[in-house]
Subunit: 416 residues, 4 copies
Amino acid sequence: MAHSKGTVVLAYSGGLDTSCILVWLKEQGYDVVAYLANIGQKEDFEAARKKALALGAKKVYIEDVSREFVEKFIWPAVQANALYEDRYLLGTALARPCIARGLVAIAQQEGAQHVAHGATGKGNDQVRFELSCYALCPKIKVVAPWRLPEFYQRFPGRPELMDYAKKHGIPVPVTPQTPWSMDENLMHISYEAGILENPKNQAPPGLYTKTCDPANSPDTPDVLEIQFERGVPVKVTNTGDGATRSSALELFVYLNDIAGKHGVGRIDIVENRFIGMKSRGIYETPAGTILYHAHLDIEAFTMDREVRKIKQGLSLKFSELVYNGFWHSPECEFLRECIGRSQEPVVGTVRLSVFKGQVYILGRESPRSLYNEELVSMNVQGDYEPADATGFININSLRLKEYHRLQSKVTVKQDE
Amino acid sequence: MAHSKGTVVLAYSGGLDTSCILVWLKEQGYDVVAYLANIGQKEDFEAARKKALALGAKKVYIEDVSREFVEKFIWPAVQANALYEDRYLLGTALARPCIARGLVAIAQQEGAQHVAHGATGKGNDQVRFELSCYALCPKIKVVAPWRLPEFYQRFPGRPELMDYAKKHGIPVPVTPQTPWSMDENLMHISYEAGILENPKNQAPPGLYTKTCDPANSPDTPDVLEIQFERGVPVKVTNTGDGATRSSALELFVYLNDIAGKHGVGRIDIVENRFIGMKSRGIYETPAGTILYHAHLDIEAFTMDREVRKIKQGLSLKFSELVYNGFWHSPECEFLRECIGRSQEPVVGTVRLSVFKGQVYILGRESPRSLYNEELVSMNVQGDYEPADATGFININSLRLKEYHRLQSKVTVKQDE
Amino acid sequence: MAHSKGTVVLAYSGGLDTSCILVWLKEQGYDVVAYLANIGQKEDFEAARKKALALGAKKVYIEDVSREFVEKFIWPAVQANALYEDRYLLGTALARPCIARGLVAIAQQEGAQHVAHGATGKGNDQVRFELSCYALCPKIKVVAPWRLPEFYQRFPGRPELMDYAKKHGIPVPVTPQTPWSMDENLMHISYEAGILENPKNQAPPGLYTKTCDPANSPDTPDVLEIQFERGVPVKVTNTGDGATRSSALELFVYLNDIAGKHGVGRIDIVENRFIGMKSRGIYETPAGTILYHAHLDIEAFTMDREVRKIKQGLSLKFSELVYNGFWHSPECEFLRECIGRSQEPVVGTVRLSVFKGQVYILGRESPRSLYNEELVSMNVQGDYEPADATGFININSLRLKEYHRLQSKVTVKQDE
Amino acid sequence: MAHSKGTVVLAYSGGLDTSCILVWLKEQGYDVVAYLANIGQKEDFEAARKKALALGAKKVYIEDVSREFVEKFIWPAVQANALYEDRYLLGTALARPCIARGLVAIAQQEGAQHVAHGATGKGNDQVRFELSCYALCPKIKVVAPWRLPEFYQRFPGRPELMDYAKKHGIPVPVTPQTPWSMDENLMHISYEAGILENPKNQAPPGLYTKTCDPANSPDTPDVLEIQFERGVPVKVTNTGDGATRSSALELFVYLNDIAGKHGVGRIDIVENRFIGMKSRGIYETPAGTILYHAHLDIEAFTMDREVRKIKQGLSLKFSELVYNGFWHSPECEFLRECIGRSQEPVVGTVRLSVFKGQVYILGRESPRSLYNEELVSMNVQGDYEPADATGFININSLRLKEYHRLQSKVTVKQDE
């Protein structure tokens, strides 16, 4: 046993990797405090606590951050219609800064100078964890074993990890490992690596865990009404059975149930990691997918066109920052404030149908709508003068005519 | 009959409105040439020709522009992943400049100084038609009866139009009118106005015409492989029955069939018109929806991350310009060239499943892929040094730490 | 005299044009209330009042809006570093919504249903005036004589206007008219039209009125220290004579004096009007030019790099909106709030020299600076690990190497 | 002497630092090839060659890349109006990828596996050099002594370097070192570090070397006519003495002379480095400053408004990429092609005056101008219908009125 290096707070998952890391950190001379955030993943938290203590953790913190995750991280993403590279709803990327916040808080409480995590050296999560930690507590030192040669050279593959586990009394999973890796939280689950690394390989049938196969999903839709205030869902009503949910966490869990039952939220994509490589991921984001569609709709209904356009640009940037791990940065904070400001009028109710892997918008209403039925009507003139459109078009055509004039000049010249 | 005002080329649809306009234009003293573009709508073109001639058209041109529509207008939109306000695939907006091009060409051929159309005074199509016409032929004069008081005050509603039709021997539709209006072309069909003007009203069951109700669609998917070159589909293969299509038009028609059969491509949205009002539209874009998903996927697979980000910004702008009617403008031309340039490496094949209203990407391959399986692998180190990520993260955190330092200073001051 | 059309509030300048319009409006049957905003132009306001009353104005309002102009319109532009098309500091564009606000307020107070202005039918100012009026009071009716055929056909040129003036006892300017038109306010003066319409013609020597010819300006600079809070100047100190100014209006006037004395703020540009034509303008913006440079400097010193980049994009949009007349719009309001939020840390003092037409930044300091002298020092390592830069560079090069790999593949293929 | 590590090509400057590095690299076991790019800096190249050989360089390559620098690097920046953070004309940033290209070419020619440079570990230049090298030759290994602990710990300051020089017979500069560091090339010279690290300190009088103090510059301007084709200057004529220059390099040198004589191109800024720290730099960019103003002017005159706006966004991104070292990247290549395409109509002549630190645009003309004197004239109606502007404004106001309607509703509610 080496000389004490002080206390490290480890982002502990209860799985094989972080269990081995826990023991290895002790071996290196750290006092290890395990921090396990309940962020909605399926996990036996009490078993994990016992395991960590059995492996020598000085203390174990298990903290339920689900509500905070929904309210402080998912809701801003819903407001932003956040989407990375047109497809990814950022389920993992949103969870990391939430966990990191808890991790750093415990480190400060425990007077620990180090935090550690089990993220690999090629991924985005290492960046997301660490940028969050450094932003929140610049003096913290991060221990990332998967980037330390003394660790990754000792454990080049799973067999070596298993050996180590057996030698140190670390419980080894009894079920055979899936040939891919998973990461789950309340918002989504990701599948990547292993057989999925070949981007041509189709996801095997048994892979999905959060959503039903649309082929086997119910033959009748669930029709929901989702009510928004300031761009955030505040109530969901199932028009079939009248069920309602209105607290943030319960509402989100309920949407996960409904969407999961109807197979909503599956994607298979190739994305660009921050560190510069392309990777393939399969994701399930059930509630997030419903909310993406519902929010887009109520926003389009209530927000001015030009404000929307500006906000869309901000959201693109926001999504990229979140993906890259910059949640806790001045620019991301700035964007959240701006986007939040834009959501002030985003109030109203969207009616939608969830069916066979799809979300169908059926209608919407709002006390803050900018939609003017009389103005737009084809049967009523309303407060609208058709002749104005003539002037509008003519003036808009001025520039185009001038350009044509020039082009003709050029073309004529070229023809001579 | 007034003194001759010269020749006008009318964008004729064969329907009640443009038939009345044809007669009315004659009444105003124009020689009317009818121009009917076959852009993939379901229409009895020969009947329309006879009708126009019977109503007094001097000449009737019926031109099949479907192939041109696909190759010159839809393909650039596919390359751009063009989407207006995050949802609308621009089916009508793409058709207008294609029709206008034909209209102007006929006007020039006929030595006509005027063109006319039946678009209303509150919509986008008047703008799209006219900006295209003026851009292509600055000297042309546009007659837009629905914006002329002498026309729209005479025909405040459908009854007056019916009366006029009866009086002038204009055949009146025998089937009762749908309580909404439709516009169809090869790419999509739109439904709006009438009972749809209340944005809360759900689309009635019988409305859809291009796609099957997903509730009644087949219980087994069609699995397709779509091959792209320069960002454009060049071959589609149905892995089920081995059917293939490779000419642009046939390929697009085939995708319409498959998507239509599986209920793919329905949306119900509120959008912002160029003239500044919000309107509600319901659209079906079967083939366009499949191609949107397929192209997004092959592009992500083959295009550099940063090029993609720049191109995404250009596409946003492109979509807005197309929606607003600026297809034939210097800026839209510039964007098409830039986007086209970005598509050079977008080559490869996407495998996808079409099922119950959804398109599921299953896998992809490409000779120009930037995906590096060895580099990204979690099991192989490849040509990658994990320690580099430490430096990368540390340098990225510098700025965040500095900001924290400043913030603390400020906070401390505020606490004093 | 026609039947009374009610009251119109006319944006009156005291000049020939709006005097003729005043009389003409009366002739058309309006009761005319004259509104003259003192926005810093050189004008004998009392003479203008008498003139308007003599011409038959029912009432005359002369309102000093200079302070409001500086605080509510110029300051947000300074915060934004607002610049249209990379060069124009928006002096006229900022004044219009300020005047329009006063105009509408008087109309509401007087119960007038109309407002009128003397802006021409080809310019930007008509748009700026009217969009502001409609945004602030949607029911107002705007009378724009220069767009009414009965007016502009009657007055095709200056001689007809002079005749009309003489006939109606409207005082005619005694000094010969300059062969260009001018528009002045506290922020700037513009020169356009007449002999300046030929973009090749150099501005004649005697044209400039707000700034000294740099060839004749003092041979010693004035060195100023400008102190900012929230991105707005709060104090200026002349280090030469110790003069200070700290109220917004006085500070701005003082900077106009200093800049004018040293010939700072002249530009000659061709710009793009909102209505789609290019026009040539010569502008003098003395204080605005100093503040543009000073604010850029203090902002760069105190604002995070990435926040700055986002804010720069917002400012580009803001400048375009202001130019086009959308100051009083939801999107411009949104941008002002976002930009305002970004200015919270923009605090500190910039030292600069004003000399021979130029502004030279000499140094800056700030309690909120993000500049870290120790961190950046070439002589001190500070809290910086050079090896981290290696990792940073290597990771950033990953993507470039991958691209090269692909390109080589392609090139090899092409060579085969 | 260690075992041979193979050949390294060193970017050699002839100065103390790279001379010491040359010797140190030999000490480490490398065969050193010195590469000295003549990129317009003032340097005795033959003396440098002798020095390098004397210090043990195996070979010395001195390559004049000035013309290439102007044509392939500066010209694209002129076309882009490239400006980093609104102020910096990128003089150093443009030179690095040009030098790196030569460096890599020599390495390939010599079969060397390594390149080395003397850039520090905190700056931008290390990034620019290395990203360029890796992009052009992914297999190259970069040796950056200032980031190697064995080097930078041995030479913590200048005294240790001087000692080393004396011990190894490296000639030591005879003139006392300036208390700041400089980097020069044809386009600009930068001053930073040392006493300039305090951002409040004014640049000392004797610092500037490329431009005359405006206080002592000539009392009469030089008036130039600069002719552009495709956005690139092709001829400059001095209207005073009739001097002309038309080859790229000579033209640029001539503009440097004229601008330098009149004190044009000095700035003092705080900028954001790529690695995340703010730094203070003082720059002189004489010819670049003239060309920035001239190109802005001819571009505004000939380019469509909306194309310009899109191009402006691309240029912002381009400038950031160049600053950060990504010249040789797929995205920067893409941007250069897009920007290049936009320059096709940028043809014509700008007349300007250079005087006392300033560039004044006097007029411009072009066969490709989009400026239409008749259309814009205040005295001629031209092909313009003023009534159209009414429709244009009314339609533009629709959205604003709707927003006001909503806002009133909200306000009323709040008042209740």
